[in-house]
Symmetry: C2
Subunit: 311 residues, 2 copies
């Protein structure tokens, strides 16, 4: 199988509460592929500047990422400066310097144009459309976005939805896109707009999968210590799609298992700082936590239903 | 088996956003027993005033509740007036008139003093202690409380914890009681204070069970339309303990199944207004939604673990 990711590769300056700002490798495609690298060998299409360090290319390669589509161009790499509030959830964007990303027009290498799974990371919806136009034969399309695009490029985004098999949105985004406050109503509105399925991301509370066939509830693993939530959403998508690619199966049942893998992968992201921290997690740790997660959601359904029938 | 509940029976005046205030039957023991009534025949100890209506006694009896311990005294029934904010989560208490509840000193009928399961609903911790002193042979003790008592009667409450098998608290309460913001840390602190297990209630996000043996994740059912959240916590406890009583089993595995029943029971509470609305829900509806819930959390753990071992 093949998993292609198009998104941003960046340097983030992160300010955690009570700490000095620290610059760290970041960007949606970086996080996504770092996470997917636990399960498969993702292909990355993106752009960086002349200042992008060789050891960061090397880091991505060490994660099994094919960086043949990561172009280095004259200018600076995309930089984002964010400051987290005390709750480690809300944050302020202090500065965004697009650099070479301002002119980014993704060109998918010819041999990558029919991926089994395509992940359209958080970039302008018109760029996501450009990628889709080049990857008409993509087997399964997933898309992530942010409030900024829902606000500024809503029509572009809405036009994409019928081409999307799996849409990743958080509470605020799904409300903003549909104008519905009540989440189940909003989720159904998203499906009516054409998306095949919606993963409603709820941060520390986990996620809910909405499909025309029904709903799946995917609680998050309660991590021992939250360090930095940056990249959690991309890691969730990366773990999810990485697993789907590994098993060569994008059926509904496979997707449920994939979301378990995704939520566990994301739990390691928030425990550390930066993609290299995630890269230090051993595959055996991921498997062990997945086993714990599966145990934590396990309920003997047949027994409880039988009990109530008797009662 | 037997399930004894001690708590408040009240008339609530509820103001939902954009609506006129409505008076309705309420109180922790009312909600708890109404919910538990789906699964067993709970015993209720509480106090009401002369204004408590016969048809409200009748309603409780219709739920299978043994009201022999519900005393009617000269004076007024406890009244609470609350106004919900637009989000239907936060609320202001506009007025609290204790009435006969001010002098409430629970006396457990002699033949009820050895219940298999005892639920100490939200009343002053010193009253909860009084009940415990009368029910030394209780097989399994569960306790609920609110911020007000954690603030004003912390020492009384903490003294009870080693006697409690199952403690129900929400995020704010567990943080307030332990002084720990991070919930897993706070949860472990609660266990260190002597409680046998903690159900961390997280409203629309569900609940997490913490025991010395580990954690269970219990996501909430996403209801179609939230009407009024009043009583949801008591219904969650009522469904949970009602099931435990039904199956005569308070083991850890049984408790997991019970929490599934509890969260589904609470989902019906928030869809309606007042205990009578919950009373109109048919047992078959509870079973059907439980089946849907079980399906929504179901993941083929053996398959996903095998997949990762190969990958």
């Amino acid at each position: 199988m093949s998993l292609l990711c198009v998104g941003s590769v960046a340097y983030d300056v992160i300010e955690l509460p009570g700490r000095l700002p620290v610059e760290v490798l970041g960007g949606s495609a970086t996080w996504f592929t770092t996470a997917a690298g636990f399960f498969t060998r993702p292909q990355l299409v993106g752009v960086v500047g002349e200042d992008f360090r060789d050891d960061d290319f090397e880091f991505l390669r060490s994660r099994g990422v094919d960086v043949a589509g990561l172009e280095r161009k004259p200018g600076s790499t995309f930089r984002w400066h964010g400051r987290y509030h005390e709750n480690l959830i809300s944050r302020d964007s202090l500065k965004t310097e697009l650099g070479v990303f301002a002119e980014f027009s993704p060109v998918i290498p010819q041999e990558w144009r029919g991926p089994d799974i395509l992940f359209l990371g958080n970039i302008h919806p018109s760029l996501q459309a450009l990628v889709l136009a080049q990857c008409r034969d993509a087997g399964f399309v997933a898309l992530d976005t942010i409030e900024c695009w829902i606000e500024s490029a809503r029509a572009d985004l809405v036009r994409l939805l019928p081409r999307v098999d799996l849409l990743f949105l958080n509470d605020d985004e799904v409300r903003q896109l549909t104008g519905q406050h009540h989440l189940p109503t909003a989720a159904r509105a998203i499906l009516a707009m054409g998306a095949g399925a919606l993963v409603l991301k709820r941060g520390e509370h986990g996620a809910t999968l909405w499909t025309p066939a029904g709903v799946s509830l995917v609680p998050a693993w309660p991590v021992d210590a939250m360090e930095d939530p940056t990249g959690a959403g991309d890691c969730f998508a990366g773990g999810t799609l990485g697993y789907l690619d590994l098993v060569h199966d994008t059926s509904a049942a496979s997707l449920r298992r994939a979301l378990a893998v995704g939520t566990v992968t994301a739990s390691f992201c928030v425990e550390g700082f930066g993609p290299r921290s995630l890269g230090k997690v051993r595959p055996s740790q991921v498997r062990d936590r997945l086993r714990s997660w599966l145990d934590a959601v396990q309920v003997d359904g047949a027994k409880v239903l039988a009990d109530l029938d008797i009662g």
